[in-house]
Each structure stands twice: as C-alpha cells, then as structure tokens.
C-alpha cells in the first residue's frame, strides 16, 4: 500500500519580494527514503519549515498525511531534526531525550534506549556540554526517532559526521524506513548519498530541477565518460591523432565519449597494443551529475531573465 505521506503542490515562498521557493511540486509515498539536494540557500530549510507549519506558504499548498502543516495531526506523526541544534549544555543526553519523549507523549524509558542505537549509550549520563559535534548530531537524531513517526524530516543530518558515523546513520535511515516511516533528508552533497536513498530531489534557486532515482538521473544527465590513455614511449600527440581526443601533459590522451561508445572506444585503444601503458576509465561522479542538474537550472533562469 502506498499512501501519500507528504505532498507539495505548486508551493511558492517569497522573502522580501525574492522567491525562496517557487513551483515546487512533488509527492512522497510511505516508507520512501528521499534525499533533497541543493546548495546553500536553494530553499531546502525553507521547505522544511513550511512543512512543519513554521512559515506561512505564499502560494500552493503542502499536505502532511492529508493534514495542514503544523496541525495537531501533522505534528503528532512528524519528527524533525533541524540543521544545527545545540541542546542545553547543562543537561545530560538522557535528560534531553526524556524531555522530548514526554513532549511528544511517548514513553521516556523507551526513548532512552535510542541512545544505544546512535552509539551514545556510554555518554548518555554526561552533560551535553562535553559532547563533540558528531555526538550532538547523533543525539539530535535519536530525538527524531522517538516514538513511531510516519514522516521523518532531517535537515542536513550528516554534516559534521565522520565517515563511519555516516555509514551508521544511513543504516539507521534504512531501518526507520523498513519500519514504515518516510524519510526526507537534505544535503548539499550527492556523493554521500550513494545508493542509500530511493529517490533524489534536486533543488536549485528555489525550484525543483530533478526528481528521480539516482540511476535515472545519471542516465538523463548523459554526461560523457572520460578515458585517460597513457602512452608508453610515443609522444601523446601521435596517440591523439590515432584515437581522437586531446593530449594532456605530453604522455597521456583524454577522450570523452558517450556511454554507448564506451566499449568501441576501449577496443580501439587496446588494438594499439604495445603503444599503450595504461588506461583509466572515469565514470561521471555523482558530483558531476549534481552539478549538471543545478547548473542547468541556473542557465535556464538566466535565459529566462534575458
């Protein structure tokens, strides 16, 4: 069964006459893991605040489980982790968690067991003032997991986490969605998503410029594959003449080719046999894909203005 957990329809938000979010429309189904990407100021946090009912929506509408953002029904089943949260330094991790559990009307003892899940079991009794940035972030995450939220909104949850903690974090996200909750998390880097999300939304200049799976986005971007061929004793220019492409630093040649041509091009390179010392194949990275989509929006905007 797939119900709509979060629906945004032609949402527009203006600050002092400047559009922070415009024409934003998408839907999130139940138990989906979705990443919302965008550079700083792309409108991610503004969107989160509108979905929580903290900011009025100028045009269009947002529905959280069929209810208005900020309504009691919406709040009862939504959990949120803000971008930067600093809990009272004089309270311990356990005290912080119990507090939010009680505010949400959940069992405080159960909430404390979440500390173990985020790796803070040991530090739970210590004061938050003594925590590192990553520990504070994980405490915030534990807070967002209290109870059984149907929608979990995480604003840049992995900033400040080391690679291992980040891995653990995505394991947790998968666990939450396996339990039936929809997770929408924002980030400004695509590289750290790596197949840990079902769908990716890319925002640029307040608009949604992509909404698809990572695989589809990669295909749709049609970014060229880069082959780097290193010559043995030949000058790079001669190699470039025979293969096409551009010589770089005297020894190597760079060839850009479409996905479909890849095999043919590699075959051409290997047919040169002894002239070749090495070959590197560079697939477009996630950052390239991300850059492609956010720049596309930028160019369209500029064309529109001109």
């Amino acid at each position: 069964m797939s119900t709509t957990v979060l629906r945004a329809e032609n949402v527009r938000k203006t600050f002092d006459g400047r559009d922070a979010v415009k024409d934003l429309s998408f839907e999130l189904g139940s138990a989906e893991r979705v990443a919302l990407l965008g550079h700083n100021g792309a409108g991610k946090t503004t969107f989160f605040k509108m979905s929580l009912g903290f900011l009025p929506i100028c045009e269009g509408q947002i529905e959280v489980l069929g209810a208005a953002p900020g309504s009691d029904e919406a709040r009862a089943s939504t959990a949120f982790l803000p971008e930067s949260v600093a809990f009272q330094r004089t309270l311990s991790g356990v005290e912080v968690l119990k507090y939010y559990a009680k505010l949400k009307g959940e069992d405080p003892t159960k909430a404390v067991s979440l500390l173990e899940k985020v790796g803070l079991a040991e530090a739970g009794r210590r004061r938050v003032g003594t925590y590192s940035k990553g520990m504070r972030q994980r405490l915030g995450l534990a807070q967002a997991l209290i109870g059984t939220p149907k929608l979990v909104l995480l604003d840049e949850p992995t900033s400040g986490l080391d690679p291992i903690s980040r891995q653990n974090f995505y394991d947790l996200v998968s666990e939450i969605s396996a339990n039936g909750a929809t997770v929408l998390l924002s980030s400004h880097a695509l590289t750290e998503m790596e197949a840990r999300t079902d769908r990716i939304l890319i925002m640029s200049q307040g608009r949604l410029v992509a909404n698809d799976t990572l695989e589809h986005l990669r295909a749709a971007a049609r970014l060229p594959i880069r082959l780097k061929v290193k010559a043995k004793d030949e000058p790079a220019e001669r190699l470039a003449d025979r293969l096409g492409g551009t010589p770089v630093n005297c020894r190597s040649v760079e060839i850009m080719c479409a996905r479909e041509e890849k095999i043919a091009r590699i075959a051409a390179v290997t047919s040169l046999g002894p002239m070749i010392e090495d070959i590197d194949v560079h697939l477009p990275t996630l950052d390239d894909v991300y850059k492609h989509f956010s720049e596309k929006a930028h160019d369209e905007d500029r064309a529109g203005e001109a």
Binding site: K49, L52, F54, L55, D72, R75, A76, T78, A79, F80, L81, P82, E83, S84, V85, A86, F87, Q88, T90, L91, E95, Y99, Y100, K102, L103, K104, G105, Q143
Partner: protein
C-alpha cells in the same frame, strides 16, 4: 496538556538549579538578608517592634532590587535562547502549543524563584528565631514577604518573556532585560521623586503619584508590604504614603497580579507570532 506543561516546568527547574547566575544571585540574596537581619535589627531593642518584623521591612526593600533581577535573569533566555540553539524548532514540531510552552516555563521559573527566596529569607527567619527574636507574627511577615516576592517575580518573569519573544538574539534579549530592570527599579523611582519634589502639594502628588506607584509592580510591591507590616512609623520613607493613599493597600497586590497576567498574555501573543 498538563503533562507537557509540567514537563517543561520540570526541565526549567533542572536548568535553573544548574544555572550559575541564579546560584550567584541566591548567594547574594542570602548574604544581604543575613547581613540586614544581624546589623539592621539593632534599633528594634529601643522600639516596641519585633526583630523579625523590622527585618522583613528591610528585606522587602532588598526584594525590590534583587527579585526582579533574578526573574529577568531566568526569563530573558526563554524564547530567544531556544531560537538561537535551534531547540524551539524541535519543541514546536512536537504537539505543544505556544501557550503551554510559556506557562511551563513560567511555572518552572517560579519554582526556582520560590526556592531561592525560601532558602535566602528562610535561613534569616530561622536564624532570628534561634537567637530569640522569633514570634508568630514575625513568621507570618516572612511568609507574606516570600509570597509577594514570588508574585513580583512573576511580573518580571513575564516582562522577560516579552523581551525574549521580541528579539531573536539572546544577547539583545539580555541587554533589554537589564534595561528594563534599570528603568523600572531605579529610574522610575527617581523620576517620581523628582516630580514629587517639583510639585509636592499639587495635582501630581495627590492624583497621579499614587497610581504611578500602582502601575509599577516593584513600587506596588513595596507599598503593599510596608503597609501590611504596620510599621510605618519607624520605616519611614515611602511607607508614609501608605496612610494618605486614595485606595486600600491590598489594591497594590491586585495591581501586581493584573500586571503579571497582562504581561504573560502579551508574551503568549508575541510568541505566537514568532517563527522558530
């Protein structure tokens, strides 16, 4: 609803007890209180008044200065601080209303204040009783002092919440809180005094001045306590006014109540407009 209010109140008590500023002000309160009791009650021997009563008279003047200060110290962080730390986003993304939140804060802060006053003034009362200066009337005077001081505290807590809901930076809120203290506790009285000297017999002294005292919770507090102590003759100063007031002193008590209620409602209205 009550569960959430009590949760916030409980957390505020916990935070308040670990707040070094509050600890410091309690130490100052106790120190002044004991000093006034030991040094200031010396003349009581020559007058037919109990040592406890005359100490309470001095302590109510101490309350006027310190209680608003402690209350503002507790309150200025209530909203702006939570905004700055990002925790207000968390609190209001849970099913909690703005009114519940502020009420919880107010209850928690009042408890901290009440504890501070009971410790500070209570220790003085016990000391006086132990050295033979105690009587039932004196204990009632102390209880009244603590009760009305708490009420005075509520008025200034509410002012602190207003300030805290108006600005988004804690430092600005703190500066404004100190400004409020300076204006209402120090400058207000100076201005009244100046006006009274300039026009000691006319319209101001008879019609404006008594109500000007009512309008400021700190002055209303002093008015009520000094009148209630029935010690006007030897306390002097403002207490002399109490006899010539155009209203019974208990009106002053209601005035503080009304002020606190109004300020707290204002704070809730302002908080409703705050985007965390």
């Amino acid at each position: 609803m009550f569960q959430r209010i009590l949760t916030v109140a409980h957390q505020e008590i916990r935070i308040g007890l670990r707040n070094r500023w509050i600890l410091l002000s309690v130490v100052i309160l106790s120190a002044f209180s004991l000093a006034l009791a030991l040094l200031g009650s010396a003349p009581a021997g020559t007058l037919d008044v109990s040592r406890m009563t005359i100490t309470v008279a001095s302590l109510s003047s101490l309350s006027v200065y310190l209680v608003p200060l402690i209350a503002l110290l507790l309150a200025f962080d209530a909203v702006a601080g939570e905004i700055e730390r990002g925790t207000l986003l968390l609190i209001f993304s849970s099913p909690m209303t703005r009114g519940e939140f502020l009420l919880g804060k107010a209850i928690g802060h009042l408890c901290v204040l009440l504890l501070a006053l009971t410790l500070g003034y209570g220790s003085t009362a016990v000391l006086l009783a132990a050295t033979g200066g105690g009587d039932t009337g004196g204990f009632i005077d102390f209880a009244r002092l603590i009760g009305t001081s708490t009420l005075l505290g509520l008025a200034f807590l509410s002012l602190g919440y207003i300030v805290s809901s108006l600005v988004r930076q804690v430092t600005t809120a703190a500066a404004m809180a100190i400004g409020i203290w300076l204006v209402l506790i120090v400058l207000y009285d100076l201005a009244l005094l100046g006006a009274l000297v300039a026009d000691s017999e006319g319209f101001f002294a008879s019609s404006v001045f008594p109500f000007a005292l009512l309008a400021n919770p700190a002055d209303a507090f002093r008015l009520f306590n000094l009148a209630a102590l029935d010690a006007n003759a030897m306390v002097g100063g403002m207490a002399g006014v109490a006899e010539s007031l155009p209203f019974p002193p208990v009106v002053a008590l209601f005035s503080i109540f009304a002020f606190a209620g109004l300020a707290l409602s204002c704070a809730v209205v302002l908080l409703k407009r705050v985007s965390p």
